[in-house]
Symmetry: C2
Subunit: 419 residues, 2 copies
């Protein structure tokens, strides 16, 4: 579109190119820009190399260029020198910044070295952006209709700078068109089958100027609707809301949440609403479901605990599985899964319980029960139910996928309809 | 150096630009290339946009161009069409690939759709690279002295393809100078204190033409030694081995493994060697230690299971913690941690046990026991010992760091010296 505001992100650092550090800054910046209606078109990741940095700056035709990294006190950090060359300016000592660096070091009980004080040497042509969490200042350059901003690569310093100064300044300067998003989270059907199920509806999006993106990750597919607010943000929001409601009505069984929600948060919210509690009995998932649940702050309100019954002896003693049941059916079986769920629910006196028993691989599969076979049981006030899943992929993926399937099974039981 | 082989990585996907997915592929690829002596000069991340992809391809002057993403079956995935334009070729149906796609879907009990079969339509001018974990094939193009390789963005599919086919092929075709590496894994000391402890030794590396990299990640610091094999690979290996031995002798207490080893694998190996077993009692880590241990294939040989005692009632009933002990000391205390360890070891009749109880945050901290306070106890044949940790960071990081500290505590107990 005509008045679109675009951005390039330049991530500088040898460590990013050789996998020492994962570049999480770029994605975060892209997300923050999107939220104020600026579209990141390109991320360029390069080493601490003068010529590479110059190339990345010179080839930028986007409105906004955000640069992170290479502002440390050591010799290999060259970004500000290269910026001086690019903008034909020179470094000057900023006394106020030097004073804040000295104060910063006093705060951690150290004396600043000369290299630390030299971080107060900044390009004459820039507007200095203060860093209240570290010693590397940010730099803002206007050039024609473009803006270039250089920030430290340390995530929390960069993020604080963006939030306090840079995002508000970009918004004022560019007044970008608003983008409206909604993301529905689905589980239970792969990307291509999901696409087939909503194909007819998907064709109706173009004339509403709405884009749909499929974002698959293990065990789930996110569906993101987005549109530009050409006329008013309200009208765009209304268009997206209407299409999101249509989409939901097509696949109510598959949608478990929205936006950044996680399945374990949705389950936790439902349990809280009902004032009910949960316990777990895990075999093949080895504590992973419990880990997911306890990643949610405040989960102790509904989660009392669980048993990881890796050995059969633990299944018998802690969960009351009769030894003849194990012998007759094997540990990976419907009766064992159901008894595990009932056993832990009884032992820990909770309203609900989930149990998983299966073969995560790579070994242990049989023709009858190949790797990826997992029995999942959910026990609750209205009894126990179970399903057999067959999950593809590595050991890690079988664990991940069966955990999500188990959480989704509980979620469905907790819905008012109790499907 | 003159015969240096360089690479560009092109990551394609709207989701990477807006922060929905973190680009972990690029760093992994850079690392793998570095290991065979190819230097990643630049990562370019762009959306699913024809013109952007063409620009990124056309501007590449590196020897090797690795492209990931945009090969899914849905409409928004356009990479292979753009590749056809760039290489002036057309898509043709590969019957053998189609057959393997059909077989893949049979394996998971589904019928392939037309869009799935269409993933067998591949550029005529490329060498097809098989994907044994999914349905999107890789594509290898030679153009003059350059190689372009397109791969799916799904990490495990891409990694399998790189390992089985692409890295060996690149090595044969470019014969990059050999790099010899060794990576020692340390835990127990932060990066800067570690650097201080080995500073003198580090100065001796330059004259051996060995580079040392500090690679910190939560709970550990990897130390990587690397050198080019100028004369012979054997001589370079010998140089690196000698320096690695010196390094180990300086910090034997901190080194827990090498290369890609994980702490839980090291612990598992030690338990196996001793023919001993392990159980767990987790409170604040909520099953995460159990999850780490059971990620290791074959862990059922030494791990019998555990109890996640999130609620105090579970601590009392499953682990035999007296209620007055909880009242007197609080759940986050030395006596409770030690009794948890003894209790689970007794209940599950194992040789060893680990217990953790702490405050993962963000709520629940007090002036006396701030967020990040974690008591860790290890119980074994020679009694129970415990330490109090104070771990910084978010809920997730407190869980991660205390889990690694607990595993390391057990590891030390399992060493012949039993430190």
């Amino acid at each position: 579109m005509a008045n679109e505001v675009t951005a390039r992100i330049i991530s500088i650092g040898d460590e990013l190119l050789i996998g020492q550090t994962v570049n999480t800054n770029a994605g975060w910046l892209g997300e923050q820009l999107a939220l104020i209606g600026i579209r990141a078109k390109r991320v360029v990741t390069i080493g601490d190399d003068d010529q590479e940095i110059l190339d990345a700056l010179a080839s930028a035709d986007e409105n906004v260029v955000l640069i992170t990294g290479g502002l440390g006190p050591t010799k290999d950090d060259i970004t500000k020198h290269t910026l001086c060359r690019f903008f034909d300016t020179k470094l000057v000592r900023h006394k106020d910044i030097e004073a804040s660096i000295v104060a910063f070091f006093e705060g951690i009980g150290r004396d600043p070295l000369d290299v630390n004080r030299a971080q107060a040497d900044l390009p004459e042509a820039c507007t200095v952006i203060p860093n209240d969490r570290g010693t590397a200042s940010g730099m803002w350059f206007d050039r024609g209709r473009q803006v270039f901003v250089s920030m430290p690569g340390v995530p929390n310093e960069m993020k604080a700078m963006m939030g306090a100064t840079i995002l508000p300044k970009l918004r004022t300067q560019f007044q970008p068109p608003t983008i409206v998003h909604r993301t529905l989270l689905t589980t239970g059907l792969g990307e291509s089958h999901l696409a087939q199920r909503i194909a007819g509806w998907e064709d109706s999006l173009a004339k509403e100027r709405i884009k749909l993106a499929y974002l698959p990750s293990p065990g789930m597919v996110k569906l993101r609707l987005s549109t530009y607010a050409d006329a008013s943000a309200e009208a765009a929001r209304e268009r997206v809301d209407r299409k999101a409601a249509e989409l939901y009505s097509l696949i109510p069984d598959l949608v478990f949440g929205e936006g950044e929600e996680r399945l374990q948060q949705v389950v936790g919210k439902l349990l809280k609403q009902r004032g009910q509690t949960l316990s777990l009995a895990e075999s093949c998932t080895g504590g992973y479901v419990s880990h997911l649940i306890t990643l949610v702050p405040g989960s102790s309100a509904y989660y009392t605990g669980g048993v990881v019954s890796y050995a059969n002896a633990v299944k018998m003693e802690e969960l009351g599985i009769p030894s003849d049941m194990l012998e007759l059916n094997g540990a990976v079986s419907q009766p064992v899964a159901e008894q595990m769920a009932n056993g832990v629910r009884q032992a820990l006196r909770t309203d609900w319980s989930i149990a998983l028993t299966g073969i995560a691989g790579p070994d242990g599969g049989t023709p009858d029960k190949p790797v990826g076979t997992v029995w999942i049981a959910v026990s609750g006030p209205d009894g126990v139910r179970s399903i057999k899943g067959q999950f593809p992929g590595s050991r890690h993926l079988v664990i991940e996928r069966s955990a999500l399937a188990a959480l989704d099974m509980l979620r469905r039981r907790l819905l008012p309809s109790g499907s």
